[in-house]
Point group: C2
Chain length 466, copies 2
């Protein structure tokens, strides 16, 4: 609570007025049946969920107008877990971020059993009172399992207003009663963490590890994405649970590796929110040999499984980007360094000029090249830096078609290609597209996923008050 | 030509096809009479121009469809000048950037007489041939004044295609014949550098210096802005001329100081182009004592004049931002460092969430706070950094109304204010707005100027091919 304790409590009168102002706008989790037709394929009809975990999603009415949709999610393990989390670096971090970070530090990533989440209110910029609210949520969940200091807390939604904390705390025991391990339980739980998402984001997988090839391990995860309708932020939450046995000592590094290659490799608009949190719980319920060293073959295998799983989960957020009409993979390969490849991929993915061109189905290699060219340069006012990772005459840019057909070369060794515009138009008709940048300066690479900027993005985020 | 010599010449077949493809789209300088009513106030009806400079703008038809609007600009001084320029840091720098940078280095910022500019084609990503074209433009202008190595070259427009170089070089003598020093000459010259600008951007001022208070010095400048319609880039060009006597040894540092606080403090969408160039020529024609030391009172006075002048010029680019409906000043004050203040201002100015909220006339302090909070954080994958410049409970955010009325406080010492929404709506009705962020961690500051993101921005840059 180091940074939180410095905050002054919110003056109640302000909160009340803010609440009054905000009540006019209600955004809630997508109801079943309201999922856009094009997105239904991303919602699973069944799943294989990790042993020993139970989950629920119930309605408590965090937003007064929400009387039916789930807005509190409870994830629990029958036995204490190793747990790790990656949090936003935003300096204005929300109360649940401060609370959960401090908890994991204090517990040394051990003895965690629950994740309790509310949607509809982010509990951000809420001062000392907000921290107390986060702690109350955790305490109620702790009581349900009879284990103190066992609960990670997450909140997502409107910022700058206090939680209706009594509504939440009095209902946590109901959320506990509603726990179950069926597919429907998992899907309802995934719906409960949504805000402006148009579909719940849930994935489950099975995997094995080299040391015990006969053991079937399971991993399941849910996430919610970039809903930023006023006055929300791009709050990203993720909860991943596995029944593999992983030591608390190595779990954080596995999660960090995975998040860097998944949740930290997507961008809708480059805004990093106050609440972003991805948590991983491992309860070991499937048995087998514990992974306790980062140099073991099991660790390496699990790291890859987790990174791939996380990438698939994170990609669902991009699929649901506000106003998005395209799902675009940016691959930067043959780079002198991975950091440079990441920064270039990120810069292309964030460039409004690239994103509007994609919306316009325009094979505008010049904008991709331009973004590449300024991605690693120093800040204004700073000296010019050399950027050895980019050599114009070694740079290649291609479109990789979503149907697996031959790539369309746009720039070859720094020279513009004769672009077959009819072919480009064909490729750009697909919802999916890969932009491949070959730097020719090394053997490192990075991948980002992004969407386009559409008129609808402006409409959604301009938030016309009608 | 160090980097240019590595480039391969373009294969002619490609260029021809590219040209054929591009000819369908013609963008040209704004004609008089076609300037939007709301922008007419930014176009001066008279001016006081520096002595010894002559300028012209003529039509050569860089784009085949352009048969009347000026597209070649010639700026010349009767006597050789001290000259300095600030160039794009983009790794894919255009041929005229390479040429002009090498020239100024070789000439040690001395003996420059001309700036020759074409619009309609950026001469970027054009390999060795492009560099030869830039050199040819310079040589023709050199011939006109009988002085070798005296010409800075700039190009702006479509990238990836070669200049119609014969059209340009055969007409440079005509541009020289058209030179003059009247207001109309300056305005025509300013029009000739435009691409998708909706109005020419020209300013002139007089000033004096402490050592010779009776001498009237003059400064004039023109710029062109962020026109990014496919396949153009956000090419920014600026040409500033003064009759003050300034040593070539101190001119570059004065220009760098000014550009950091003007052209490097504006953003339309954060894309840094391949061609950006701002050049300053000082011919000393007004007489007076030469400024030769950066520690002299004259230098300090000139530096301030130049920075203010450049800021005014740069702001015209933001006024003409694509689809812009708002002109927004972001001031970050009371910062522990100027670099941090600049980065925070820049991040707020670039945030799509802030820019769409401004378009929606939405007093969304949460998005401003969010952008502030992530502006100084480390890259994904890198360790968390401390960011001592931002302390949540010391942070204040206000709107400063354009009519000089009382500020509207949105966040006070990290706490949300009771926002008077009616008052906020009033303030957001003005075209102009200042967002003031007080960090409370020091006494440094920085200012950025930006515009909003509108539906029209998406329409313009999505470039629907109809």
């Amino acid at each position: 609570m180091a940074s939180g304790s410095l905050w002054q409590p919110l003056r109640q009168s302000r909160v009340q007025l803010t609440n009054q102002l905000k009540q006019a706008r209600n955004y809630s989790a997508p109801a079943q049946g309201s999922i856009p037709a094009a997105k239904k394929k991303y919602v699973p009809k069944s799943g294989t969920y990790p042993r020993g975990f139970k989950v629920s999603g119930i309605n408590v009415g965090v937003k007064p107008g929400n009387t039916s949709k789930p807005d509190v999610a409870f994830v629990t393990s029958e036995q204490p877990c190793a747990a790790a989390a990656v949090f936003t670096k935003n300096k204005f971090q929300a109360a649940p971020v401060t609370f959960s970070r401090d908890l994991l530090r204090a517990k040394k990533n051990r003895g965690i059993q629950n994740v309790i989440v509310n949607s509809g209110c982010a509990n951000a910029v809420t001062g000392k009172g907000g921290l107390e609210d986060a702690a109350k949520m955790a305490q109620e969940a702790d009581k349900c399992v009879g284990n103190e200091g066992a609960t990670i807390v997450m909140s997502t939604g409107v910022i700058g207003q206090r939680l209706p904390i009594d509504k939440i705390t009095t209902n946590i025991s109901n959320a506990h009663k509603a726990l179950g391990s069926s597919h429907d339980h998992w899907l309802t739980c995934a719906r409960a963490i949504c805000t402006t998402d148009t579909f719940p984001k849930l994935i489950s997988k099975t995997f094995s590890l080299p040391s015990s090839p006969s053991v079937e391990y399971r991993i399941a995860g849910m996430t919610k994405g970039a809903g930023m309708i006023h006055p929300n932020m791009a709050t990203l939450l993720g909860i991943i649970a596995t029944d593999a046995p992983i030591s608390p000592d190595v779990l954080p590094s596995a999660l960090k590796y995975a998040v860097d290659r998944s949740f930290n490799s997507i961008t809708i608009d480059g805004d990093t929110s106050t609440n972003d949190t991805v948590a991983l719980l491992a309860n070991g319920a499937a048995g087998g040999q514990e992974i306790s060293s980062t140099s073991s073959p099991d660790y390496e295998a699990f790291q890859t499984v987790l990174a791939d799983f996380s990438a698939e989960l994170a990609q669902l957020i991009v699929r649901d980007g506000e106003g998005a009409t395209k799902f675009v993979t940016i691959r930067v390969v043959d780079s002198a360094s991975e950091a440079a490849a990441r920064k270039i991929a990120s810069t292309i993915a964030r460039s409004p000029l690239v994103k509007t061109a994609l919306y316009g189905k325009d094979a505008n290699w010049g904008r991709i090249l331009c973004a590449t060219g300024y991605s690693l340069i120093s800040e204004p006012g700073e000296a010019i830096n050399e950027v050895p990772e980019i050599v114009p005459e070694k740079t290649n840019v291609s479109f990789i078609p979503a149907d697996g057909s031959t790539e369309l070369k746009l720039l070859v060794n720094g020279e513009p290609e004769m672009v077959d515009e009819a072919r480009a138009a064909e490729i750009l008709e697909f919802e999916d597209l890969e932009i491949l940048v070959r730097l020719g300066t090394g053997d490192k690479q990075a991948t980002y996923w992004t969407c386009d900027y559409s008129h609808e993005y402006i409409t959604i985020n301009g938030d016309y008050r009608t």
